[in-house]
């Protein structure tokens, strides 16, 4: 609403404030799919810190962690839970294999949902995720 394209939408500011206080790993993207923030709880799962990665464009983060199906086939951005959430405006869930910034492979469960201030306006999305216990 303001003439300031640099200002983050309040919904994203609140999403960052909320996730920064959660012990659940969380990842926030804006309406363009740009990685806006991930919290400290996400760092051991992603093998990287937000301070290191900063903001990443949609194509950047989608390849950064090399997401794959459990059978090892790559998952494109549009099929990732976050991709579905911010592009299609609906929640999605999926188990994924990722390679962390520390080089470790991990199997995670991801649930993403869109951030909509109004029904017709997607401002971004949040994914929460957790590492599957080994052997499950």
């Amino acid at each position: 609403m303001a003439d300031d394209s640099d200002q983050r939408d309040l919904i994203l500011i609140l999403a960052r404030d909320l996730t920064s206080r959660l012990a659940t790993a969380a990842f926030v993207v804006d309406a363009d799919g740009t990685l806006a923030y991930f919290n400290e709880a996400a760092e051991p799962v992603l093998g990287a810190s937000y301070a290191e990665t900063g903001e990443l464009p949609a194509g950047g983060w989608a390849s950064e962690w090399d997401p794959r199906n459990l059978d090892g086939t790559p998952v494109p951005l549009e099929a990732l839970p976050l991709g579905i959430a911010f592009r299609e405006g609906r929640p999605a869930h999926m188990p994924l294999c990722i390679r962390g910034g520390d080089g470790m492979d991990r199997t995670i469960e991801v649930t993403a949902f869109p951030l909509c201030a109004r029904a017709d306006q997607i401002l971004g999305a949040i994914a929460i995720f957790w590492e599957r216990p080994s052997g499950s």
């Binding site: 303001a2 003439d3 300031d4 640099d6 200002q7 309040l10 500011i13 404030d17």
Partner: protein, 278 residues
């Protein structure tokens, strides 16, 4: 641009001997634009004496910019003369909400049992407009709005005219969940509309001690108001939305603290009748 404060009390109108210097009327600021129109920020009880001050002058158009629908920002509207004038074009602007539109959210307040007259029967037949995402013009004024941190949908406004800018964020808690000294500008609620404003009228309801007991209530502590204003590089900070429990003496103690904290801005307390020329 000429802005006049008609009410700067927060939460609840608080007339009495302890509030005579700064006033007890709730939020309302009039912006002079031209002879035939009125631009008003919020419709707290201060809008009633504003209407009385018109002394027979009948504006052709009134644009009322409401920051949010909490009672202290709308309660005076029912007693504002031009609202009852069938010859006035009355436009009410306010924040969008996820479900009901602005009229649907305001109308119950103007209906029995809260009020004897239904909104649909108000003689000026007001129209309702949710603030657009992009700046728009009202007369010679360019207006911007941005959602800000406060319970429920709430916006702050920026008015620009003749190269000068006034930012109005009467109910705002930018420090909620955010260390205002530790994040970049784009992650601070409201900073986009306050940036480089000549005059920033901002929530300063609580002392720091009070704020610790009221986190999440939607209002600022003195240090957060000053920090926000300095991050915005505002020219002058006017502390606004005074707590109804604060006497004039309490407010002056808050001002002293704000002046002690401020390093790059001028601070003052909003008071009824204060006129700003920009």
């Amino acid at each position: 641009m000429r802005a006049t404060i008609w009410g700067c009390r927060g939460t609840l109108a608080s007339p009495g001997p302890e509030t005579v210097r700064y006033g007890g009327q709730t939020s309302c600021i009039a912006i002079d634009s031209d002879e035939d129109s009125l631009l008003i920020l919020d419709a707290g009880t201060g809008i009633r004496p504003l209407g009385m001050s018109l002394d027979g002058r009948r504006p052709k158009r009134v644009d009322l910019l409401i920051t949010h629908l909490h009672t202290d920002h709308i309660e005076g509207l029912r007693f504002f003369g031009p609202f009852w004038d069938p010859d006035v074009e009355f436009r009410i602007w306010g924040p969008p909400a996820p479900t009901k539109n602005l009229e649907q959210r305001l109308a119950p307040f103007f209906s029995p049992p809260f009020f004897p007259v239904h909104m649909r029967n108000v003689p000026s037949r007001p129209t309702f407009r949710e603030v657009p995402e992009e700046p728009w013009t009202i007369g010679s004024m360019t207006v911007s709005a941005s959602l800000v941190k406060h319970p429920g949908p709430a916006v702050g406004y920026r008015l620009e005219d003749g190269g000068h800018a006034l930012a109005y964020l009467p109910d705002h808690e930018p420090g909620l969940g955010t260390d205002l000294t530790a994040v970049t500008d784009r992650w601070i609620s409201g900073l986009g509309i306050a940036r480089n404003a000549d005059l920033l009228i901002h929530d300063g309801q609580y002392t720091l001690g009070e704020y610790h007991e009221r986190v999440g209530w939607g209002h600022s502590s003195t240090p957060d108001a000053v920090t926000f204003a300095e991050r915005a590089h505002a020219g002058r900070l006017v502390l606004f939305h005074h707590d109804p429990l604060h006497s004039d003496d309490d407010l002056e103690a808050i001002l002293s603290e704000a002046e002690r904290l401020a390093t790059s801005i001028t601070v003052e307390l909003g008071h009824e009748g204060r006129v700003f020329e920009l």
